[in-house]
């Protein structure tokens, strides 16, 4: 009996030790070899720069550890910082090679390929002839679209915690020994199995430029892309945080290619070219048996006679029909109620 009790205690203690070790591993994930967080962990570390912009120098360690860059040392992106106080700090160059080895090529990891993809895309600052496009400052840099990407595991348990399966982690532990590695690898894979941002967040990123009236006017873009998307069924579902509907990238990026290589709708190789649009509609997750006519549906309708006449007249018709029916009906009800009110008064007097 006593032996059983002892065993119970031992099991309890070992479970506690295991949890503690796991906790320590999780805490030790930060790649802060330079001890930069000695100062940068404080939320108030900031200043107002010469242009009146807030420069926040705070790094939230727990959020950073949950990001895809958690394993990258501070010096990996800020190699010029060697001195305190930091002097003439250069802008981060995302094309730098960092210390991580890319396993398939066994070369140092870099985002250099993204630059190549971007140079071929409609968002490149350079035109086909290698000359700078008009208004080059309007074309996006890395940080215009990206902040530090956070892990977003594939499933969410009751929408309150990431759906990290202990059963799957147990399978990982059969071969892999470090919980830190398992945690990171699991998160990396499950995050990459779906979009790292929700459709609503993706639309918001595109809206930074594509809803800017000045930019839209300068580049002669025909539509305000995001507000018109929000008018459609897809956009409305995105607004309600649906994850199962297409976002901007699903329709504007050639299937199987980098999102950075977005082509103009005038380019016959582009998925948004008039004859190719149906391919994105027919993706297995969307409308696999759709007829070619589906692609003719205007996914960026605006309430505008010139741009979307069909949608304009349909919407106007239904608005007028609804208002024209319900308002007179309510008016008649109001008058009828008034008559009853006053006739009662007369009866009372009699």
């Amino acid at each position: 009996m006593r032996c059983k009790k002892l065993l119970k205690y031992a099991a309890g203690i070992s479970a506690f030790v295991w949890v503690a070790v796991l906790f320590i591993f999780c805490e030790a994930r930060a790649a802060d070899i330079g001890n930069c967080l000695l100062c940068h962990k404080y939320p108030g570390l900031s200043r107002i720069d010469e242009n009146g912009d807030l420069k926040l120098l705070f790094i939230n360690e727990s959020v950073f550890n949950n990001s895809v860059h958690a394993n990258v040392k501070c010096e990996g992106c800020h190699p010029d910082i060697k001195k305190i106080p930091h002097e003439n700090v250069r802008k981060v160059d995302c094309m730098l090679e960092c210390h991580i080895i890319e396993p398939s090529s066994e070369k140092k990891f870099s985002h250099k390929d993204v630059e190549t993809f971007l140079s071929r895309s409609v968002h490149s600052k350079i035109d086909k002839e290698g000359k700078p496009k008009k208004y080059p400052e309007d074309y996006p840099d890395c940080k215009d679209c990206h902040d530090n990407p956070l892990y977003r595991p594939l499933s969410f348990f009751k929408k309150v915690r990431p759906g990290i399966s202990e059963i799957v982690l147990g399978r990982c532990r059969v071969c892999h020994k470090k919980d830190e590695f398992i945690f990171r690898f699991y998160n990396h894979i499950t995050t990459r199995l779906h979009a790292i941002r929700s459709p609503k967040n993706i639309a918001e990123v595109c809206a930074k430029c594509h809803e800017d009236p000045a930019l839209v006017a300068r580049h002669g873009l025909s539509r305000k892309a995001v507000s018109s998307y929000a008018e459609t069924f897809h956009g409305k579902a995105a607004n309600y945080l649906s994850e199962g509907i297409p976002d901007c990238l699903n329709c504007h990026v050639n299937i199987g290619e980098s999102v950075h290589q977005m082509l103009s709708h005038k380019n016959p190789e582009s998925i948004t070219f008039k004859d190719n649009k149906i391919k994105s509609c027919r993706m297995i997750d969307c409308h696999p048996h759709a007829s070619a006519k589906l692609a003719k549906y205007d996914v960026h309708p605006e309430f505008d006679k010139e741009k979307s006449p069909m949608e304009y007249y349909f919407t106007a018709f239904f608005l007028i029909l609804t208002g024209g029916t319900l308002l007179p009906l309510a008016g008649i009800m109001f008058l009828d109620l008034g008559r009853r009110l006053f006739s009662r008064k007369k009866e009372d007097k009699e």
């Binding site: 070899i33 404080y42 107002i48």
Partner: protein, 293 residues
């Protein structure tokens, strides 16, 4: 009574019908009219802005009021809502509550340090959890008590130490304020009468003459020391200005705050290159190697 209730019943139905009519109007014809007028104003703005060739109007509204936007990241299992900072890469996920007590902040702002490039960010970092008076007022003689307490940023009230084992440093939502002997009583040095005086000045500033303004400013700033306390006054092993342990800091935190890591960094600040001691876990040679790289 019955007649009155019937009338009430009919009137309430009339109100409901009116409400329904307004709602229907807003969703139908109102929407049509609003959409048309929005489009007209958008078109005007488009043409004006396109003419301006990208140079946007720099108004107070645009820069200051609209600059306080929030952004939400939908992670599926939580929504991370944070301040929107254009071009900021790292996530913040921390809401700095306004300091509702401090009258200094009302004029000087929450990020007041700007003059000295070398220490401005450190100054601002400390001002997130240390009241201005802690460094900028030097209590002398009988007034000096060595007592310091925490007050909540939101309420301004004195609170128990917010420091907890699982709370990251600086995430306190509270500030340290010195206590002194004022009018024969031990009290916080930002007294209510001083606060009332400063707020009254702010309210009536526009109506005051220049000499009146100068006089008021002199009175408001009369406690401000010519030379503020400096880093070493707190970050030292002996006779630290702040009684860290009384303020609720753990022994481990106190050791770090007065450690050679922090104190040494401060001492050698102007000629400081990231030393080996800032590479925990690495041997001296490894750290040197890393620096060379």
């Amino acid at each position: 009574m019955k007649a009155f209730l019937t009338k009430l019943y009919i009137v309430s139905f009339m109100v409901l019908t009116l409400f329904f009519m307004v709602l229907t109007w807003n969703l139908t014809f109102g929407k049509l009219i609003e959409e048309q007028s929005r489009r007209k104003s958008d078109d005007q703005a488009d043409s004006l802005k396109a003419l301006a060739d990208g140079k946007e109007e720099q108004s107070f509204k645009k820069i200051i009021l609209e600059g306080d936007e929030k952004v939400k990241h939908y992670l599926g299992y939580r929504v991370l809502e944070e301040m929107k900072l254009e071009g900021h890469f790292h996530h913040i996920d921390y809401e700095m509550e306004p300091d509702n007590r401090s009258t200094c902040v009302e004029c000087h702002g929450d990020i007041p340090h700007d003059a000295k490039k070398e220490i401005r960010a450190f100054g601002n970092m400390h001002s997130a959890f240390i009241a201005c008076e802690t460094c900028h007022v030097r209590l002398e003689g009988d007034q000096k008590t060595g007592a310091f307490k925490w007050y909540g940023r939101k309420t301004g009230e004195i609170i128990p130490s917010p420091i907890k084992e699982d709370l990251a440093p600086g995430f306190y939502h509270a500030k340290i304020i010195p206590f002194g002997v004022i009018d024969g009583k031990l009290q916080r040095i930002d007294t209510q009468s001083q606060i009332d005086f400063a707020r009254e000045y702010q309210k009536s500033e526009k109506t005051l003459s220049d000499p009146q303004k100068a006089k008021a400013k002199k009175i408001i700033h009369k406690f401000v020391a010519e030379k503020a306390y400096v880093c070493e006054d707190c970050h030292r092993g002996k006779d630290s200005l702040l009684p860290f342990e009384n303020l609720g800091y753990s022994k481990k935190r106190v050791d770090l705050l007065v450690s050679s890591e922090v104190v040494g960094m401060i001492r050698d600040y102007t000629k400081f290159f990231v030393p080996e001691m800032l590479h925990p876990g690495l041997s001296e040679t490894e750290a040197k190697k890393l620096e060379k790289q």
